[in-house]
């Protein structure tokens, strides 16, 4: 269909990952906010996880594009 779904998936999760990582960093130490999540800075960890996933997807999309062009 001419559209590689890996690209939007990678892009979206990279954006989400970046947002939550930054939000997690700015709110770190906020005990009220993180009392629900048992004191775990879940935004930071979840954000980093999504960032890694997003970047890997983008890398695959980029590789597929290179291969197609070659």
């Amino acid at each position: 269909m001419g559209v590689d779904i890996k690209f939007p998936i990678g892009l979206m999760f990279s954006i989400f990952g970046l947002m939550l990582t930054l939000y997690g960093l700015f709110t770190s130490g906020d005990e009220v906010l993180y009392s629900r999540s048992l004191g775990v800075n879940i935004n930071l960890w979840c954000g980093l996880g999504m960032l890694v996933f997003g970047v890997i997807m983008l890398a695959f999309a980029w590789k597929a594009k290179k291969k197609k062009e070659a």
Binding site: M1, G2, I9, M12, L20, Y34, R36
Partner: protein, 576 residues
């Protein structure tokens, strides 16, 4: 118990970005939508992994996520029977034995397969039932979404309904089936990633699996069951009284593992359509197999948190409770929402809510994209305006019809959603009726694929007979304590099942076997109309075998199938 929660700006930002991506995918696909086959069949161009994830995502609708988490609290790990025995064998069977005929016959839908294999009337019956059923199902799912948004986020019911319908309409109108499939893949990832924090936090809270087992023991024994009933699967199925589901191992095996699951996975066009959109026969066969891999692990994502919720409910310090309905009973379907509220701070909360919204949309879009295909090819093209012979003009014409059917489908869904909001029981009633349609259909398609003698008259009568028996069985039996006729017993109270689920299993078993007996019997006495030549590619014994010998052993579908079954077996043993 107060259900509502307030969202922070970051939660809304995540939600809005997600919607931009969803619509963006539709927009990007718009320029490829030049023909009806591109719009309605995704041009048969999907790689196996994309079709496979979409295959499983269509099934991972919100009603499934909410219902299964609730069942986790109600029945514990017994709920995994819906996965390891109730889905995996059927998915493997579909892949290995049925996909070659669905895909190889070039049928564009399940009803069209029935037309090619049997005759016009069998197709017509199935197409019309399917079209009505999917559109109502889509309406029910919309209604559930709007209610949820109203209760949880305080949004206006009408606004949520129209807004969610508009977004689904937007991307399915623009990009058709491809757009629905691509978005289902996106939805799959957001559902998994959005719900993972709950699994992690609830397990951490309760001290892991063993900590949860310890705390479950007193709660479960107080209910009158053995201490490990909630964390085992087959151990207490020797008698229906020993487990909360009220079912024995043989009715799980026959009802759920065979009739219900094969009826659902192997004949439901909504699901099969994803595999039909694959790029090759091999990809079409691999689609259900690839989908089966995440399917096996979904219980850990949605059932295990449900079990944790049962512990939380019974632990005073946790201040966790489910909202109650008018009768004062806890609404188990809201377990997942209350878990989101319990554990997630702003940020990941937005992700979790987005995951739920995503699962609603994948259900709706799936229904709409299956509806417009069946409507355009099996109803409009067959009975209203047949092909003219001018292929280019036809493709253009049916593209317009497919697009209009998308709009029409969404509008009827909205109407159905309002109907459901007026009559709560209609939902239960329709779901009961739907479950009666699939089981006979499986018998008829199975016989058609594997026995060349099966005739069209026999198939048509078999479908009707199976459906009639299902209705009669439902009318004569009822689950103990049923308070409405919707649950059964509307003819006469002949027999009472301990729980509704047992009744459902046996309705399906009766429907499927009646349909099979009638179809076989009538096939023997009616004349075979279609010649062997016409049935080539549609019936097992008349189709050349797929040759996998040239493929490296680890790339063969059969290898993947063995691998899938082996993991399912290991999981079953681990949680016996």
């Amino acid at each position: 118990m107060e259900m509502g929660f307030t969202l922070a700006w970051i939660d809304y930002a995540i939600m809005i970005i997600y919607f931009i991506f969803v619509l963006g995918i539709g927009w990007a696909l718009k320029r490829h939508m030049k023909s009806a086959s591109a719009f309605l069949e995704a041009g048969r161009s999907m790689p196996a992994w994309v079709a496979g994830l979409a295959f499983i995502s269509t099934n991972l609708g919100a009603l499934e996520v909410m219902g299964m988490t609730g069942s986790g609290a109600k029945y514990g790990m017994l709920t995994t029977h819906f996965y390891w025995v109730g889905a995996i064998p059927a998915m493997v069977f579909l892949a290995m034995f049925m996909m070659p005929f669905y895909y190889g016959s070039k049928a564009r839908s399940v009803p069209e397969y029935l037309k090619l294999r049997y005759d016009e009337k069998t197709r017509g019956l199935n197409a019309i039932l399917f079209a009505v059923m999917t559109i109502l199902a889509s309406g029910i799912s919309m209604y559930a979404l709007a209610i949820l948004m109203e209760k949880v986020l305080g949004w206006n019911f009408h606004l949520s309904l129209v807004l969610s319908a508009a977004i689904v309409l937007g991307y399915t109108y623009l990009g058709g089936l491809s757009s629905a499939i691509y978005n289902e893949v996106l939805q799959f990832f957001i559902i998994v990633i959005g719900l993972l924090p709950i699994v992690f936090l609830s397990m951490r809270d309760l001290g892991g699996w063993s900590g949860m087992q310890e705390q479950l023991a007193p709660i479960v024994t107080a209910k009158g069951f053995a201490a490990d009933t909630w964390t085992t699967t087959w151990k207490y199925t020797g008698s229906g009284k020993a487990n909360p589901m009220g079912v024995e191992w043989y009715s799980i095996f026959a009802g759920l593992g065979f009739v219900l699951s094969f009826g659902y996975w192997c004949t439901n066009f909504l699901i099969v359509q994803r595999a039909m959109a694959a790029e090759s026969t091999t990809a079409a066969r691999n689609t259900p197999l690839i989908g089966a891999i995440p399917k096996m692990f979904i219980p850990f994502l949605i059932i295990v948190p449900g079990i944790a919720a049962l512990v939380l409910m019974n632990t005073p310090g946790k201040e966790f409770a489910l909202p109650l309905n008018e009768a004062g009973q806890p609404i188990y379907d809201y377990t997942i929402i209350m878990l989101l509220k319990q554990y997630l701070p702003a940020g990941v909360l937005g992700l979790g809510i987005t995951a739920l919204l995503a699962s609603f949309m994948s259900g709706m879009a799936g229904n709409v994209s299956a509806f417009n295909t069946v409507w355009t090819y099996d109803i409009y093209q067959s009975y209203i305006r047949p092909v003219t012979g001018d292929k280019i003009a036809d493709e253009k014409h049916y593209l317009v019809v497919g697009r209009l059917a998308t709009i029409f489908g969404i509008l009827v869904s909205i109407a159905a959603a309002y109907l459901a909001s007026l009559f709560g029981n209609i939902m239960d009633f329709l779901q009961t009726i739907f479950s009666m349609i699939n089981a006979p259909l499986f018998a008829v398609i199975f016989l058609g694929m594997f026995w060349k003698r099966t005739t069209g008259h026999a198939a048509f009568t078999g479908l009707l007979a199976g459906f009639t028996i299902a209705l009669i069985h439902h009318g004569l039996t009822y689950p103990e304590g049923a308070d409405t006729l919707v649950k059964g017993g509307w003819i006469y109270h002949l027999f009472a099942y301990p729980v509704e689920m047992a009744q459902n299993f046996w309705t399906a078993i009766f429907a499927c076997s009646t349909s099979a007996i009638v179809t076989v019997g009538l096939s023997l006495v009616t004349k075979k109309i279609k010649s062997d030549e016409e049935l080539k590619g549609l019936v097992y014994s008349l189709t050349p075998k797929l040759n996998e010998e040239k493929v490296v052993w680890y790339q063969r579908s059969s290898t993947l199938a063995v691998f899938v079954l082996a993991i399912a077996a290991v999981l079953t043993v681990l949680f016996w």
